[in-house]
Amino acid sequence: MLKVDRIQLGIVLDHIQAGKGFLIFQELGLSARKEPTALLMNVPSGKLGRKDMIKISGVLDLDLTKLGLLDPGITVNYIEGGQVIRKVKPGLPERVVGLIRCKNPRCITSTESYQAPIFTLVDREKKEYECHFCGERVRV
């Protein structure tokens, strides 16, 4: 079994759906960080069978909305003094600004590009969002 040192101060992203770890690593821009950061893939998991994990050493301001959108099952563990001091499960965000593009070519946001697209969660089960402007539904 592969071993990665316990971190003293930082964040552990746990329960990432196997195969999504690299995407999340990229989306969070972690390759630009100077601090030690580990991406673990296909780690055995009692709950999921297999999972990915990301261990980030040091302080980082995470965009939980983005994280919840990328993988609603994720658990964010905040570590201080080698201990988990807080666990957060972001889940699917209710409102997403600027992260989803509307695919409707007739939507006003397709031409007025200064306006960040705004989406609202309408069906948690189907992971379906609705465009605030044109009403188009998208699945994430």
């Binding site: 007739r106 939507c107 006003i108 946001t109 306006q115 605030h132 402007f133 009403g135 539904r137």
Partner: protein
């Protein structure tokens, strides 16, 4: 009266972008005011004196623009208009947000029509003055809904306990979608949806109205005459040629939903035949003489209810 004034005051300064931006109670307040305007227009002939509205049309629409402008002029207010905004500021590359902020500096209220869906919702984000959606692409046309509901209220005296039949293009017709969503919030409403299979009401709208009102009754049929016998209101729409892949299908379906005097024989004596206009072939001209045909009256009521809306949003009543 006192209560009514408090209610109307709550609408002052608001935008009207989506038919569901106002609650049924707020609609009723507007309809009470519109009734007063129909009965005594002279009382309101100067209520918007000193006020100015801008009608900003990015696509042509003679009917809607004239209705708004007539409404404001009959309230004693003034109108500035851009009948084809797409050839002026847009050609210079100005954003809709900048146009709205500029025009809001000149006018007390803006009416916007735009071909893109959600344009009015975006414009409202940037408008410091009330903004009325005069139609945004295939998305919304809420003052048509206001017109339709007021016509029913004025003619039937109620907006509950009604069987409302919709006929024609129920899939793409935005006036149908808005009216159905607004009526679904009322008590004891039954819908009869008459259309070819290809142009049925979208599932997402059926789900929405069922979740808004689980008691709603929906009957779908392809047969105009079946739907007609029970209806209190028949809302006709145009079947548009561009929705079809081949001309044969279009002609077959278009002709099967033509309302004639003969088809009206089995209908109720106090039926209302409505249409958002323009009418093409779906209502035979012979029906115009039938007292149940109210579509031209409907267009006139549209002006009165827009008067009520403008006066209310400007806070002058």
């Amino acid at each position: 009266m006192g209560e009514g004034k408090v209610g109307l005051a709550s609408l002052k300064g608001r935008h009207f972008v989506d038919a569901l931006d106002f609650s049924p109670a707020e609609y009723d307040l507007l309809f009470s005011l519109a009734e007063r305007i129909v009965e005594s227009p002279e009382e309101f002939a100067a209520c918007c004196s000193g006020k100015l509205i801008a009608t900003l049309f990015y696509e042509p629409s003679t009917r809607t623009r004239l209705s708004f402008e007539a409404a404001m002029l009959r309230l004693g207010g003034k109108v500035i208009t851009v009948a084809d905004a797409s050839t002026s500021s847009v050609a210079k590359g100005e954003s809709l947000a900048d146009t709205i902020r500029t025009v809001a500096g000149y006018a007390d209220l803006i009416v916007l029509r735009h071909p893109k869906e959600g344009a009015a919702r975006l414009a409202a984000l940037y408008s410091p003055v009330p903004l009325i959606n005069g139609g945004d692409g295939a998305r919304e046309h809420p003052t048509q809904t206001l017109t339709d509901l007021f016509t029913i209220k004025r003619s039937k005296g109620r907006l509950d306990d009604l069987t409302v039949a919709f006929c024609g293009d129920l899939r793409y017709g935005r006036t149908v979608h808005s009216l159905i969503r607004a009526l679904a919030l009322r008590e004891a409403i039954r819908f009869i949806l008459i259309s070819p299979v290809e142009l049925r009401l979208p599932e997402v709208i059926k789900e929405e109205i069922r979740s808004a009102n689980p008691k709603i009754e929906l009957l779908e049929t392809e047969d105009l005459e079946v739907g007609l016998a029970e209806a209190d209101v028949l809302y006709m729409t145009r079947i548009q040629k561009e929705r079809f892949f081949n001309e044969e299908d279009y002609i077959r379906l278009r002709d099967s939903y033509v309302l004639t005097r003969g088809k009206l024989e089995g209908a109720k004596g106090d039926l209302l035949v409505m249409h958002p206009l323009p009418r093409v072939t779906e209502i035979s001209p012979e029906v115009d003489e039938d007292p149940r045909a109210v579509y031209f009256q409907q267009a006139r009521y549209g002006m009165f209810v827009r008067m009520a809306l403008i006066a209310t949003l400007l806070g002058v009543v």
